[in-house]
Each structure stands twice: as structure tokens, then as C-alpha cells.
């Protein structure tokens, strides 16, 4: 690469970029203005809401024989609330939809433990108005009341409890309660855990789907508990306790984390997401324009005939995008500093960031690879797409994908000292989190940076290859297939079909009750999705079913190989799973719970075999090694083809920890399909593998506990079986050559 040339190209790019009013406005000015607008919007809305809440008067009613005592309790609570400092402290529950469904709020024993006295008073100013209500539940329903209290005397409550207990035992009995009691019996029953006989009850009825009802009732319950706490302390004093009950079992906390580290705990998680988001939004407009826009305007062709190398063009464009990305991110950081740092807008106390200069430096150094990778990726899609509009289409998936990778920093147990260090973007996200809590793992930081730079380099090289691609420079549009329709269109549509089937498999069970049962799900997935889907694809695209399903005879030796593969695939899989757990450690409990759900013991063996081995072996193979492989085999080179079909097969098994073993299985079966060109050995292998696995599980054989030497013995068998397949191969017809550049390679 020639530095002078790149410099010339770079200056030219920058000049054109800055003369483009649209890019300047959209990617630079607008974000700079939008950020404070959002911040102020939230600030304004928060204050407005706060004011509204402060001026709300919650309407409630009290019914029941014990009502007067409860009123007195409330009155005591209110005087205490009024006497306390009326500071406005944000309620955590503000605007959190998940919180609203929290049945922990629904009374119950937990609400009866004395809250620890933290010393600071965080009560809300709020006013309550008691109103008369003859039919409180219908008034609550109609919204005339925010909530109401039912006050029962001790004896009333006792008889109600008795009736309830009788009803409970008449049913199956409440599972939760019994376990809790079982444990409590070991310790001792206390005030906090259970109501003693004769103690009166006040039960607050509210509607959690109404904000005022939820808030008001929670506030009033707080007041009552506060008053009760005082009353209890008073009672203890009267019975002769001299000291303040708050002094009992004094609890103090020591935090080994510095305040900066503690603040970094939150900030370190948000920072990578924020940075990647800013980089993406900032760089995308410039990137989309840089190659795709030039292609569309026709000026790219001109540039390609000049005596610069493609990698130089790409490097200059990359530098341009990178400059924009860096500028935007720094400008936005400055922007945030101005508004947040200088106190125009307050941050929550726990977000009070205190970052050392060293941390800032390290963060910046870690951010540069991110900017490089993001801009390379954007450049790549820009180089791949034919037009500006096409680039925009790819932007959303790229955006979401990057965000998902960045979210790796949110996974609490993942440390940089793991395989994550080589996963681009995810590694920096984890690294930033660790840096922000003061943990500098220098070797791993270097590994992470190196892997990022490698990724960026590969993408740049790929981008410069894109410029050689005919698709981009020749005018031929590939949409002729769209006009032809039918079989010609199938390779372009096959992934969409599978995406659709996948979406159905994911969504259907949670919306159709019948599918929550194992048989229902089995029948639906096997016949409703895979079988019907395969038939539909053949029908709609007018495919030759023999070809589409790879109905071809095989040599007899193949069957021997497959029979050897059945056990050895499973045993080799143990290694794969072991390897994957290094990367994604899953808690044992989760796996066990999952296994028992998936592999029920209460079915007869023949039924399990039918549902778990035979039908998947036939129907899933039709879909994956039949149609999917048929659709993709002219589009991908064999190695990639095998991996892609395997991964898609794995993704259909939803849960993350199942994906790795099933992807492995999918890869092995697809290899068989590619080598034999036939679906039948795949069906045998799939069904055999599943049957073998279930039999082992059924009879409690735990291969994981076998000595590793025994498992190692299996490897030669596995290799031998694959060798047999290779030796007697009848390859899948029409595959692309293995490597690029082979003579007669149509994709070259």
C-alpha cells in the first residue's frame, strides 16, 4: 500500500463528505442535537410525573370490623411521615413494566418482616383520602377507588384461615407453602413468616394494572408498616427492654470495591452499548454513501480504472468512515459531558461516574479497535450492496447483530479470561466492563485488541475483493430468477422459508395451549412445520421431489459406516459439549430441569422412540438434508454448506445450550449427505443417534462419568466411519468445488 496514494484518496473522500450537506446534517448535526433533546425530554417528563404523583390524592376505603384500629394505625403512620424529612427520592418502580407484575408485592409473609432501618428516610409525600364505599370491589373495578383495605379482627381472620386451609387440602395442596414450611420447621417460626392465631389482619386490595392503585397502596402499606414498627418497639420497651430494638443484631457492610469501581459496575455495562450505538449511527451514513453510493452514481467504475490498488481505495474509505465515527463519538462524549458532567441534568446517584485518567486512556485505546471493526463492517456491507437503498436494508440486521454482540458485556459470569476474548466486539464489551471496575487483565486486553484488528483486516480484505465482484460492476441484475419463478427462485427463497418455519416453531407453543404438552409440540413441529413445510416448498417452487429430497440409492458400504457412526457420533459429541461448556458454562440445575422436561419418564418406550427418534429421523431430514441442502448446495462451497446447514439445524433447537450439540449433530449428518448424495443414510443416522441417546438416558448410563480413555477409543471408530464414507463416496450432485480458483469453477 502506498501511503501517499491513500492520503490523496482520503483527502478527496473527506472533501466530498464534508461538501455533502445531507451527511453532515444527518450523521453529525442531528445526533448532536438529538442527544440533549432526549435527555431534556426525559428530565422534563420525570419532573412532570413527579409533580403529578406528588399532587395525587389516593382515594381508598376501609371496610371490616377492625376498620377503626386500622384507621388509627394509618393516622400514626401519616404523622410520622409528615414529621420526617420530605425528600423527593426517585421511586425505583417508576416506569418499569416488569415490576408491575410482581406478585411479591401481593402481600404475603415477605411483607411482614421488619425492614432494616437504613437510617435515611425515603418516604414519598403523598396524600390519602378515605371515602365511603358500600361495594368496594366494584368501586375499585370502576376506578372510583384506587384501592381498599379490608380489616379483620383476629378471630375473623382465624376462621377465614381455617376455611382456606380446608379448601387447600381439599385440592392438591399448595406446593410452595409446604416446601417453605418444611424448611422453616428446621429453624423457628417467627413474626415475619406466619401470622399467629388471633392477630388481626389488614389486607390491601389493589389493581396492579393501574399505576395509581399500585403506587398508592404500596405507599400506604409502607406507612402502616412504619407505624407498626414504632408500635412494636414501644411494646418491647413497655415489656422491659431498655435499649432501642433497632440496635439488635447490628448489621454493617464493608465494600472492598472503591466508589469508582462500584459506579463502574453500572456504567461499565452501559458504556459499550452506548459507544457502539454512537459509532454505528455516526458512521453508517458516511459508510453507505462511500461505496454503494459511488456505485450507484457510477463514479466507482472511474476510480477502478485509475492506477490505485483496490485495497488502497478501501483503506482510504475506511479511514474516512473511521474519522467520522471517531469524531461523532468524541463529540457525543463531549456533549454528554457538557450536559451531565456540568450538572444540567442529574444522573442517578449510583451512576455517579468517577473515572481515572488511566481508565480513560485504556478505554480510548480499547475503543479504537471497536471503531475500526464497526467501520469495516459498514464498509463491507456498503461494498457488498449494489445501491444505497440496498445498503440500508442490510443495516438493520447488522445493527441488531452488533448490539447483541455488545450485550455480551451484560452477561455477568463471562470474564475476559475465556474464549470470549477472541470474539470481536463482545470481547471489548467485556473488557470495558472489567476496566470500569478497575480490573486490568493486560494479556487478555492485548488478545482482545489483536482479535479485533484481525477481524477488521479480514473485513477490509473482503471488502476490496467485493470490488472485483462482477455482481457489482456488471449491469446484469440477478432478478431474472424472480421473473422465472419456480425452481430457479428456490435457492434465493429457501432461507426465507426456513426463517418462517423457525419463527413458527418459536412462537406457536406460547400461544396455543395444546402445544405446551410434549405430544402436541411433537405433532405440531414434525407434521405441521417440517413435513408440511417441505411439501409446500416442493409444491410452490415446483421442485422435482426426488432431487429436492435427495432420494438416491447408496453403496452398501455406506450402511456399515452409518452403523458405526451412530454410537461414535454421540460419544464424540461428549467432547464437543465439554468444549462448549468452557465457552458457555451452563448451570447444572438448568440442564437437569431441561432434561427432565424434554425426556419424560412417563411415556412407554415405543412412544418415546416414535416421537424422539423415528419421526425426527424421517421428517427433520426431509426438511434439512432434503430441501435446505438442495436449496443451498449451489450457493455455498461444501465446507461452508455443511456448517451452514448444521448451524440452521442447531438453531431450530432453540435453547442455547442445545444448539451446540445439535449443530454438531447437524454438521455430521450434513457431511454424510454431502458424501453420499442421499437422504437415507442421514435418516438412519439421525434416528439412530436419537434412539441411542434416549436409551442411554432411560437406563441411566452417564457417559460423562466414563474414563476418558474409553471415550478416546471411540475417536478412531468415528474417523474410520467417515473414511469409509469418503472412500465409497457418491457425492451430492452439482456441488461447487471445494476451493476457489479450481478450473471450471463457475463461482470464480
Amino acid at each position: 500500500m502506498n501511503r501517499a496514494t491513500i492520503g490523496l484518496l482520503y483527502r478527496n473522500e473527506m472533501r466530498m463528505l464534508l461538501r455533502d450537506r445531507r451527511t453532515v446534517v444527518l450523521s453529525i448535526l442531528l445526533p448532536l442535537l438529538v442527544l440533549p433533546a432526549i435527555l431534556f425530554g426525559f428530565k422534563f417528563m420525570n419532573e412532570w410525573r413527579q409533580e403529578q404523583q406528588d399532587t395525587t390524592t389516593y382515594r381508598y376505603a376501609v371496610v371490616g370490623a377492625y376498620a377503626d384500629s386500622v384507621r388509627a394505625l394509618i393516622a400514626r403512620g401519616e404523622t410520622r411521615a409528615a414529621g420526617g424529612p420530605a425528600e423527593n427520592v426517585d421511586l425505583v418502580e417508576n416506569g418499569d413494566p416488569a415490576e408491575t407484575g410482581d406478585p411479591a408485592e401481593d402481600g404475603g409473609p415477605a411483607g411482614n418482616a421488619e425492614p432494616a432501618d437504613t437510617g435515611d428516610d425515603d418516604r414519598q409525600p403523598a396524600s390519602f383520602l378515605e371515602v365511603e364505599a358500600a361495594m368496594p370491589d366494584s368501586s375499585l373495578e370502576a376506578g372510583d377507588l384506587d384501592f381498599y383495605l379490608e380489616a379483620l379482627t383476629g378471630s375473623e381472620a382465624d376462621s377465614l384461615d381455617l376455611a382456606r386451609a380446608a379448601a387447600d387440602t381439599a385440592e392438591t395442596g399448595d406446593g410452595d407453602d409446604t416446601t417453605e414450611h418444611g424448611e422453616e420447621a428446621v429453624v423457628e417460626v417467627t413474626v415475619a413468616d406466619e401470622r399467629y392465631p388471633g392477630v388481626p389482619v389488614v389486607r390491601v386490595y389493589y389493581r396492579a394494572n393501574r399505576d395509581d392503585s399500585r403506587r398508592g397502596s404500596a405507599l400506604l402499606v409502607d406507612r402502616m408498616m412504619d407505624a407498626r414498627k414504632q408500635d412494636r418497639a414501644e411494646a418491647l420497651r413497655e415489656s422491659g427492654l431498655e435499649t432501642d430494638p433497632d440496635e439488635a443484631i447490628r448489621l454493617s457492610r464493608v465494600d472492598v470495591a472503591t466508589p469508582a469501581q462500584a459506579a463502574g459496575f453500572y456504567f461499565g455495562r452501559l458504556l459499550p452499548l452506548l459507544l457502539v450505538f454512537l459509532t454505528l449511527t455516526g458512521a453508517s451514513v458516511a459508510a453507505m454513501d462511500s461505496v454503494a453510493g459511488e456505485k450507484e452514481r457510477g463514479s466507482l467504475e472511474t476510480l477502478l480504472t485509475t492506477s490505485v490498488r483496490r485495497i488502497e481505495i478501501i483503506a482510504a474509505k475506511q479511514l474516512t468512515i473511521l474519522s467520522v465515527a471517531l469524531f461523532i463519538t468524541l463529540a457525543q462524549a463531549g456533549n454528554l459531558f457538557v450536559y451531565l458532567g456540568l450538572g444540567f441534568i442529574d444522573l442517578p446517584a449510583e451512576m455517579d461516574i468517577d473515572v481515572s485518567p488511566v481508565a480513560v486512556l485504556v478505554l480510548f485505546v480499547m475503543y479504537i479497535p471497536v471503531a475500526i471493526v464497526v467501520s469495516s463492517l459498514l464498509l463491507l456491507i456498503s461494498a457488498y450492496a449494489k445501491t444505497y437503498k440496498e445498503t440500508q436494508l442490510y443495516l438493520l440486521p447488522v445493527f441488531l447483530g452488533l448490539m447483541v454482540l455488545t450485550a455480551a458485556g451484560l452477561l455477568p459470569a463471562v470474564s475476559l479470561r475465556s474464549l470470549i476474548a477472541v470474539v470481536p466486539v463482545a470481547n471489548v464489551s467485556v473488557a470495558v466492563r472489567e476496566i470500569m471496575v478497575g480490573h486490568y487483565d493486560i494479556p487478555m486486553l492485548l488478545v482482545a485488541s489483536a482479535s479485533m484488528l484481525l477481524a477488521a483486516f479480514l473485513m477490509l480484505r473482503w471488502s476490496s475483493r467485493m470490488l472485483d465482484n462482477e455482481r457489482l460492476v456488471t449491469a446484469q441484475d440477478m432478478d431474472e430468477a424472480d421473473l422465472a419463478g419456480g425452481a430457479a427462485l428456490f435457492p434465493k427463497r429457501v432461507l426465507l422459508w426456513f426463517l418462517g418455519m423457525w419463527a413458527i416453531v418459536i412462537i406457536a407453543p406460547s400461544n396455543i395451549d395444546a402445544l405446551t404438552r410434549l405430544e402436541g409440540q411433537w405433532a405440531f413441529n414434525m407434521f405441521g412445520v417440517f413435513f408440511l413445510g417441505s411439501l409446500l416448498m416442493i409444491q410452490v417452487h415446483r421442485l422435482d421431489w426426488r432431487q429436492a429430497l435427495a432420494i438416491r440409492p447408496v453403496r452398501p458400504q455406506v450402511w456399515l459406516a452409518v452403523l458405526l457412526l451412530v454410537p461414535s457420533t454421540l460419544l464424540t459429541g461428549i467432547f464437543v459439549v465439554g468444549l462448549s461448556s468452557v465457552f458457555l458454562p451452563f448451570p447444572e440445575e438448568l440442564l437437569e430441569q431441561f432434561a427432565s422436561e424434554l425426556l419424560p419418564d412417563d411415556f412407554p418406550l415405543w412412544q418415546i422412540m416414535l416421537m424422539m427418534a423415528l419421526t425426527p429421523g424421517i421428517v427433520e431430514e426431509m426438511a434439512f438434508r432434503g430441501l435446505l441442502l438442495h436449496g443451498l448446495h449451489r450457493r455455498l462451497r461444501p465446507v461452508v454448506l455443511i456448517l451452514v446447514v448444521g448451524i440452521i439445524f442447531g438453531l431450530f433447537h432453540q435453547a442455547l445450550f442445545r444448539i451446540i450439540p445439535t449443530t454438531y449433530l447437524g454438521v455430521v449428518i450434513t457431511t454424510v449427505a454431502v458424501l453420499t448424495g442421499s437422504i437415507f443414510p442421514c435418516m438412519l443416522l439421525h434416528a439412530g443417534n436419537n434412539a441411542f441417546a434416549f436409551l442411554l438416558y432411560r437406563y441411566g448410563v452417564e457417559i460423562e462419568t466414563w474414563p476418558p480413555e474409553l471415550l478416546l477409543l471411540n475417536v478412531p471408530v468415528f474417523v474410520f466411519a467417515l473414511y469409509l464414507l469418503y472412500r465409497y463416496r457418491t457425492p451430492y450432485p452439482g456441488l461447487l468445488p471445494f476451493r476457489k480458483g479450481v478450473r471450471g469453477d463457475p463461482a470464480d
Binding site: M16, S307, P746
Partner: protein
């Protein structure tokens, strides 16, 4: 027979690409020709005959699937940068940067093609003067009319003073006056000693300008030679008739 002296040497040049729906597409099949120094060589063919693909391979935009092509002795596949340094490529379909001015454009392409930095301003002045674009040399390209843009585009093609010029259908979409101007430029360039390779589907243009002509059809060269030689071979006088008779012969 290959010598460094041939400005353009093409042998068995083939371009095949893969299309998901159509399978392998043979755009250019084993064509071969040579251009002599200082001549205008015309590629004549109907739309979709493979002219543009051929010229794109010669200017290294596309990579040949097979065969060789050399520009000033440099192989297009092996030394693309050197090839491009010696070629100016003009196409009616390629555009200019709308946000640069005419001067900036010419300067940029001179420099990027390795023209000596100290001589660049003089070269730019010379071209601006030659094409009469002084008045709008400092205006942005997107403000120019199509005729003005065409002049700037030619100027930028010549910016690095290449010995070989490739014109891909240069007169497509031009009005008569502009087309004539273009033809005059080609003749003038020839007089300066440049070797010119140009493609067209307009018979009269080829007849008028070319020293030698190759007739290309469905990716193959059906015939090539001087107009006289072609007349002799077919017995027809007008190029149109010559063209049709070769195509009929091929079919």
C-alpha cells in the same frame, strides 16, 4: 508474435461468471486481437455482444476467467496497477464525483494515476484550456449540464496523459454536435500518437474513425481487419451490410 511494442495485445480472453439463476454465463469467449501504436481500433457489436465486458477486462475492472491481455506489455491480471497507469478509460455510463469541481476532478485523477505532482497544475491548466471549460472549472460538477460534464469526463480521462485510451461507447446519449465533437477529439488524440480502443454499435462512427475494426457477436470476434479487408471478405460495401453478413454467417 507478442511484443512489448503492441500497445494492446489480447489472446484467448474469456470471461465467464456465475449467476444463481442462469448458471454460468459466457460473456466473452476466447477473443483475440492486437492494436498497433497510434491507431484507432474499433470494437463493433450489438448491445450485449461483450464489448463492455472486454473493455472492462482490459482496464482491469473485471478479471479475465482465462486467456491473456496485455497493455504496453503488462498483463492485466498480473500487473493491474501498471496497466491502469497507461490507460485512460472513458465510458458514457461512468460518472464523476458530483461534489467536486471540474479542476479538482482533473487534478485528483492526474495525481491518483501517478502523474508528477509538480507538473499537475500545468497539466490541469492545459486540459481546462483544451476543452474550453475555464468558465465553469471552479463550479461543482452537479451544477453542470450534461455537455459540460462530458468534457470534464474526457479531460479527466486524459489527466495523466496515458498512451492508450479506451472509450466505451463514448457517443451514447450525446446529441449530434456533441457526438461530432467527441469524434473530433478522438481524431485529435490519434494525431497526438495515442492508441485508441473504442467500442460502438454505431456503424457510421466506426466506418469514419477506425483504422481497424473487430466485429464482436455473442462474446466472439467474428472478423477483424481494416475496413477494406472486411469489404473484400464479404463483398459488401457498407459496414452495416458487412456486419449483418458476418452475423448471418455465424448463425
Amino acid at each position: 508474435m507478442t511484443t512489448v511494442n503492441d500497445p494492446v495485445f489480447v489472446k484467448d480472453l474469456t470471461k465467464t461468471y456465475y449467476d444463481e439463476s442462469r448458471g454460468s454465463v459466457h460473456a466473452v469467449r476466447q477473443i483475440g486481437f492486437t492494436c498497433n501504436p497510434g491507431e484507432i481500433f474499433g470494437l463493433l457489436g450489438a448491445n450485449g455482444a461483450g464489448k463492455t465486458t472486454t473493455l472492462r477486462m482490459l482496464t482491469t475492472i473485471l478479471k479475465p476467467s482465462a486467456g491473456t491481455a496485455k497493455i504496453m506489455g503488462y498483463d492485466v491480471a498480473e500487473e493491474p496497477v501498471k496497466v491502469r497507469r497507461h490507460v485512460g478509460f472513458y465510458s458514457a455510463t461512468t460518472a464523476l464525483y458530483p461534489r467536486l469541481t471540474a479542476r479538482e476532478t482533473i487534478e485528483f485523477f492526474a495525481r491518483i494515476n501517478g502523474y508528477d505532482a509538480s507538473r499537475t497544475p500545468a497539466r490541469v491548466d492545459e486540459l481546462v484550456e483544451r476543452f474550453g471549460i475555464e468558465e465553469y472549472a471552479r463550479a461543482r460538477i452537479d451544477k453542470l449540464s450534461s455537455g459540460m460534464k462530458q468534457k470534464v469526463a474526457i479531460a479527466r480521462t486524459l489527466a495523466h496523459d496515458p498512451p492508450i485510451l479506451v472509450f466505451d461507447e463514448p457517443t451514447v446519449g450525446l446529441d449530434v454536435l456533441n457526438a461530432l465533437e467527441m469524434q473530433a477529439i478522438l481524431t485529435e488524440l490519434k494525431a497526438q500518437g495515442k492508441t485508441i480502443l473504442f467500442s460502438t454499435h454505431i456503424m457510421s462512427e466506426a466506418e469514419k474513425l477506425c483504422d481497424r475494426i473487430a466485429i464482436i457477436h455473442e462474446g466472439r470476434i467474428l472478423a477483424s481487419g481494416t475496413l477494406e479487408a472486411l469489404r473484400e471478405r464479404t463483398g459488401a460495401h457498407y459496414l452495416e451490410d458487412i456486419f449483418v453478413s458476418f452475423i448471418q454467417e455465424a448463425a
